[in-house]
């Protein structure tokens, strides 16, 4: 069995609304990447499916534009396209 890592997961705006929560802590298999985490979340929260094509991901407050490996203690955020200003 792979070792486990623990991450803080944050949701904003429409993603937060669809999931009904702003944050959660998750235990993941070591080696999990951001694409896999989005899959896991979509399974757990089917409402996410409706916008999964446009969901943005940030790891430790930096956008990631392709899947990256998640490390223990990372802060992973999921959110829709931004609209500040």
């Amino acid at each position: 069995m792979p070792a486990k890592i623990k991450v803080r997961v944050l949701f904003f705006a429409l993603v937060k609304e669809l999931l009904g929560k702003a944050a959660t802590t998750m235990e993941l298999d070591e080696g999990t990447d951001t694409a896999r985490l989005l899959q896991l979340l979509t399974t757990k929260f089917p409402a996410l499916k409706s916008i999964s094509g446009s969901v943005m991901i940030a790891v430790n407050r930096e956008y990631v534009y392709s899947p990256v490996r998640i490390n223990n203690g990372d802060e992973i955020a999921f959110f829709p396209p931004i609209s500040g200003g």
Binding site: A58, Y63, A77, G84, G85
Partner: protein, 164 residues
Amino acid sequence: LSSARHGGAGVLQSENVLELTSEPLDINRYFKVVEDKTTGAVASFQGIARDRFEGKKVARLEYEAYHAMAICQLTEICREMRMKWPVRKIAIGHRTGKVEVGEPSVIIVVSSVHRREALEAVDFSINEIKKRVAIWKKEIYEEGDGMWKENEEFYHLRDRLGAA
């Protein structure tokens, strides 16, 4: 009122005032902040909550921010401004929470010795904010429904960098 002053190496990051706040923004406070004996120019931009969108009457806006990420991004935008132009001081404020029609949601004030730098830096920074800072806006309509908006500028950036 959440306020952040950021120190950084090489550039005068101490001369930036960056705020994400649920309180009304006060541009006069920012004008005070950028005052400086060597200043010959002060440029500003205010984004104001408009009363309608495609014919629908807007009752108010609601902004949400990923605070820690947004402040990092604003700090980075200031750093880039200072790499591009010899500006003196920068103040940027963005509202979170409810914003009434007619109120500013974002204010940028920049001072510099000559006018070109302040004008171009303000223009640059509002574009960069729209492109990448982790803030979201929901329009609440008078009929009671609401819609999360998406900045076109963000898509331009994302298309260049590739989707997640």
